[in-house]
Structures are given as C-alpha cells and as structure tokens.
Amino acid sequence: MPLFGKSQKSPAEVVKALKEAVNALERGDKKVEKAQEDVSKNLVHIKNMLYGTAESEPQADIVVAQLAQELYNSNLLLLLVQNLGRIDFEGKKDVAQVFNNILRRQIGTRSPTVEYICTKPEILFTLMSGYEHQDIALNCGTMLRECARYEALAKIMIYSDDFYNFFRYVEVSTFDIASDAFSTFKELLTRHKILSAEFLEVNYDKVFSHYQRLLNSENYVTRRQSLKLLGELLLDRHNFSVMTRYISNPDNLKLMMNMLKEKSRNIQFEAFHVFKVFVANPNKPKPILDILLRNQEKLIEFLTRFHTDRSEDEQFNDEKAYLIKQIKELKSVHEN
C-alpha cells in the first residue's frame, strides 16, 4: 500500500472486500468493530469512485461500469440494504449515495441497474420495510424515492402487498419518518400518471378501504395530508374513472360532509375541494342526490357562512357561489 494517497484497488477488489466485511458484520463475531470499520472504509472508497473527491475526479466510465457489474454479480446491493441497520451513521448515508448513483446509471436508453433490480425485487421490499426501523427509515426513504422515479420499479412496488404497509407507515408516531413515508407514498401514486391511474382503477376497493382509515385517522397531520392528496388524485384528469366511482358512493359524501365541519379550518378547506366534486357532478346517482336534498337547507346555510374571511380568494368564492346555486336548484327526481 502506498504511504500517501489512496490505494488503487480495482472495482472487483473493493466489492469483494466490502462484501466480506458486510458478511462479517452480519455474522456478528467478536471482530464486529473491525468489520464495521472495513465496511465504512470500503463504502467511502466506492463513493469516491462514483462521485470523486475534492482532489480527484470520478473514475472513468469503464471503471464505473466494472463497479456496477461487480455490484450486480455479487448481489451486494441487497446485502447492503439488508444490513443497513448494522452499518454506522456515515456508512448508512454512503450506502444511499452509492445506491442512488448506481441506480441513475444509463447506457444509451437503458438503465442497467433498474433492469437488475427488476430481477431482484427483494431489494425494493427490503427498502420498503425499512420504514419499520427508526434508525434506517430515512435512508431507505431517499433510496425508495429514487427508485420510484422509474416506472418499472414503481410498478413493482405499488402492485405488491407490501405497498399497503404504507398506510401504516404514514401514521407512525415519529413525525419525520411518517412524513418521509408520506412523501414516498405520494410519489408512488402521482409520479407516473398512467401507471397509477390503472393501479387505482384495478385495485379501487382495496386501496380506498385503506385510504378511508387515513381520512379517519386520530392523527391530525395524517388526516390533513391524506385529504389533500385525495383531492389531488380525484381532480387529476388521468384518474377520471376513479373520480366518478368515488363520487358515486354516498359513504364518501358523508365523510366529506363531516370533514367540512371539522374543528381545523385547514381540513374544512381541503374537504371543500373534494365535496365540490360531488355537487358539481351532472349525473348524481340517487343516493347522493338524496343526501344532498335531505340536507339542502342546512348546506346552503352552512356554505353561506363557510370561510367568509377568504374574500381575497376569488376562485374559492366563485366555486362556493356555484355550489350554493347548485344546491338551491337541486330537485328530487320524483318531483318531475
């Protein structure tokens, strides 16, 4: 080894060394500290190959290609993600950086790492379960969101059973983890419009029964965030058929009417933007019409006094006036 500067290990050597160190860490022999140290050292080494340092440029494409190939062949990405909890604080961050860099690698129109992960979906499932563990949740989050940018990987994640765990993760008591999980959840449902529209359509019942629980959550932040996302999803034209289905269900209308009366003004306001879709629907099914008719007087009175201090917001006032007019003009189907 040279006295000064970094040793010039080849990608194969570094990957082999890292793999041995992670294995030792996993076995948890007496030499844990040594293994810990080796893992961190080799991670820094790989990171520098990819990103370069203050003194050196990133390695040439050919070296990076070799490195990527070694990582695939050795199955090291999965191993790193599985043992993330055992790696020290800086090392965890390095894993995320290495992972994301390798993931973004492109050869022409191909993304080899994306193709590789498609054949090893355990990597994704392991990352998703990372939200169960406080010490690695946020690191897994950054890797997951990078994965979610690729349609093929997002598809694997949302169509898996593990996806429904997100409904639990977004409600955990640690605030930063819950909100990190929520942003990953949102990314998965909104990034690839066509993909998520299809997914919501096919899995409508399952998704929305879970979603209902978020809207009824004890946790104010969860209620508010999920209500806002619901509004965004329903008002996105890609989700047109999901929207029409959602606004045909009287239970959903009742829920929104209750949320209009919530204590929090922010929740009231978000609920208004979902409620308006029920009212604006030109083809209201009978059960929906019945609920609106039963509450016609009360709704008109309620909406007239609803957020009157938002005089600056023309859009809102126009919409409110429109809703009041619509509700006033509601007539029972039998009357005609």
Binding site: G108, T109, K193, I194, L235, R237, H238, P282, E314, Q315
Partner: protein, 430 residues
C-alpha cells in the same frame, strides 16, 4: 447650490475626426440637376448632432403596492413587462402591465386575460409560470400581473443565434421540461393551445416555464374527453385538424402537435410548414406533408414523426413521448450552450431595481448625466459594425458563436457624455 464645473474633453473631437477620416464624403445622386440640395436644407433648421443633448432618464423609485418597479424587460401587444422587487420578501418578480385601452383593441383581449388569471391561480408546477399577485389601478385603467421572474424566452435565444437553433443536448433539456409541464397542465384538464418557443420562458437557473395561457382552455371537470371547438394559437404551430377547419378536435393532441413543431424548430432552426400567407400556410399544414432535414438522425427523427402525425390516433401521447428513446437518452454535451441574450448589454441579468433603490436612498438630485445625439449615433454605428462583422464570421464557422457574442458585449458601453460633470464632494447639512 450649484457646485459643478463643466469641462469639455478636448480629446473627444480628435477621436471622432479620425473616425471620419476614412469615410468618403457623401455625394448625393439627384436626377434633377437644377435642384440645389443646400437650398432645400435652408428650409429646415439644421442642428448638429453634437448639439442635441440628452439627459439620462432619472431612476425615480416607484412603488406599486409592495413592489418596487425596475426596468423594462419586454413589450407585447397588450403592454409592457417590467422587472419588480417584492419589498417584503426581496424576491425578484416580473410584472405584466395591461392597459384596458390596449386590451379592448385586441380580439377577445379582456376575456383572455381574465381566463388566464383564473387558470394560473389554480396551477402550481415547476414548469408552469407562477402568477404571484394581481393588482389593479382603476384610475389609470391598468392591471398588474405579478409573475415569477424569468430572464428570457427560447424565442429570443434562438433569434440571437445565426442558425436559430440549439445544440441537441440543450434542446433536449428544454423539451423534457416542456413535457413535464404539459403533463401537469393536461392532468389539470387544461389545453394550452399555444405552445411555441415564444411562450417558453427561462428562469435564471435555466428552469423552463410554460407561459401565456391567454388562449388556453380548461375542460369541464366532467367532460368525458378532451373535445375542443376553438383554437386561437399561432398559425405555424397549429395541427392539420385546425388548419382544415374541423369543428371539433381533441385538445391534448393539439398541444402534442405544437410541441412537435417546437421541437422541430429548436433542433433544426426551421419550421416544418411554411407559407407566404396564412391561407398558403394552412393549406400546407392541412396536407400534413413535411420533410425533416437530412442531418436529423434517427431517434429524434422518429420522435418528430410521431408527434407530427396528421392522424390524431397515430399521433404520440405524452406517455409515448416520455418512453421514446430520444427523450430517455440525453445527447452528449458537445456544442457550446446558447446563452440567454443580454438585456441592454448586461449578460448577467443583474437586478434592475437596484439603481432605483440607490437613487431613492442615497441619490442626489442635481447631478444628471448628459450625452449627445452624435455620441448615440457613434455608439449605434459601432454596434452595427460589430454585428455585421460578427454575422460574416458566423457564416463561415459556427464555432465562433460564443466569441462573437462576447465580442459584442465588450464593445458596448453606456453612452457617456463629452461634458463630464465633476462634482465636489458635497457636505450635506445634517
């Protein structure tokens, strides 16, 4: 209190004389020899250009609401666009100043503006221009649309270059951002209907912003599909179905077509369809026949063909565009980046509000700067010379692009006066 001394710079005249030394005296070509030109001139009072003195416009600080007004950024048929500074947040903004009088003269002017305001208020996306505030001045019949600050548009950049196109990698970056913004608009049920380089602006950090939703249409929330009936976009960017006068057409596919023309334009410097007048142009678009320049290679060529499909069912969807090899694969950064053209000589686009604030807080009223018509003419001549010599070089070699713009910048200097005004350090009574 006048403590100024005016000194004429004696060197100035010599320099000018030298300049004129090369120029031969003008001889007038006159078919009537009896006509004495000098006699005619007698009828006019001749003023030497040295004697026309301008006073540099004072930077008078002006507030509109909480915004400090800056310099002019651009001008359109509706009115001016100026820079502003939000005095609360210190954010740079641009303001579109709309005059009721002018709007009335534009067909659908007022309705389009109202619609644009209403639409922009509901939108929030990285690649769609953000409407920050709307202010009214009923007395002056003016309307101020305060927007995100943009330094320029793709059209101005294209026009600043001899080939009127971007290097592929640069065009690719803008195109991907256009597709992101368009996907957002479409997801909100909005058909833009006027996608073209002139409506794509850039912020200082190079983020593309789709702007001008004046003729955009918001679909009804419950409309089954994207059927539209009116199109008022720019002719060269309209699809065959509009050129052929179809009564109804699919809105989203109109934006795909216009984005296709835009991509064609920014990567080749040409338009797929042309015509001496709008009828000829529409006739050509209606046929849907065009050629792609031979130098356009395959992934890009097939993308253009997919977007510029006469048959709307065969025309690409945004999804197909996203998955197209040319979109996925970023071209290598080979040629120099086309810069945003400098604004009045300032390539850095520094904040123009600052001089107004300086003047307001530290300014002394009695030190105006003067310059003469003669100097202005000289300056214009210099710039003209730079430009023509630049164009000649450009014609020979496109690699000179960068140098020439630099060259032009170096020569440009602010008109300074031959009457240099010296001021004694004044002691202000406290």
């Amino acid at each position: 209190m006048d403590n100024r001394i005016a000194i004429c710079d004696p060197d100035e005249d010599e320099v000018n004389n030298e300049l004129f030394g090369d120029i031969e005296p003008v001889t007038w070509v006159n078919d009537d020899t009896n006509y004495d030109l000098d006699e005619i001139n007698m009828a006019f009072h001749r003023v030497d250009s040295h004697q026309i003195i301008y006073e540099e416009k004072k930077k008078k600080c002006k507030l509109i609401g909480k915004y400090v007004m800056g310099d002019l950024l651009g001008e359109g048929s509706y009115g001016k666009v100026k820079e502003m500074l939000d005095s609360d947040t210190l954010c740079r903004r641009a303001v579109k100043i709309l005059k009721k009088k002018k709007l009335r003269r534009i067909p659908n002017g007022e309705i389009n503006v109202q619609r644009e305001i209403q639409l922009l208020r509901t939108l929030k996306h990285k690649n769609v221009i953000d409407l920050v505030d709307v202010l009214y001045n009923d007395e002056k019949e003016k309307m101020y649309l305060v927007m995100e600050f943009c330094v320029g548009g793709l059209q101005d950049m294209l026009e600043s270059m001899p080939h009127k196109k971007f290097p592929l990698w640069q065009g690719h970056g803008y195109f991907c951002q256009l597709i992101d913004g368009l996907e957002y608009l479409h997801s909100k049920g909005i058909v833009h209907k006027d996608i073209k380089p002139g409506n794509l602006l850039l912020t200082l950090d190079g983020t593309l912003k789709i702007s001008d939703l004046g003729v955009a249409e918001a679909l009804d929330m419950f409309a089954k599909d994207d059927t539209c009936t009116t199109g008022q976009g720019s002719p060269a960017f309209q699809p065959p179905e509009i050129a052929n006068g179809c009564e109804t057409f699919a809105g989203f596919k109109v934006d795909i077509w216009s984005s296709g023309v835009t991509l064609y334009n920014i990567t080749t410097g040409e338009y797929p369809f042309e015509g001496d007048n709008i009828y000829k142009l529409y006739e050509n678009i209606g046929k849907g026949e065009y050629t792609i320049p031979a130098e356009v290679e395959d992934p890009l060529k097939s993308l253009l063909q997919g977007m510029l499909q006469k048959d709307i069912d065969k025309r690409f969807t945004l999804q197909q565009i996203r998955q197209h090899p040319w979109t996925i694969c970023r071209p290598p950064k080979t040629l120099e980046e086309v810069p945003i053209p400098p604004l009045r000589g300032d390539e850095w686009h520094t904040m123009t509000v600052l001089p107004y604030l300086m003047e307001h807080h530290y300014g002394v009223d009695n030190d105006p700067t003067y310059y003469t018509e003669h100097q202005l003419n000289e300056e214009r001549k210099l710039q003209e010379m730079d430009r023509t010599s630049g164009e000649q070089k450009n014609a020979c070699n496109s690699h000179y692009n960068k140098h020439i713009t630099n060259h032009g910048k170096r020569r440009w200097r602010k008109p300074t006066s031959c009457i240099s005004v010296k001021k004694f350090p004044s002691c202000k009574p406290s």
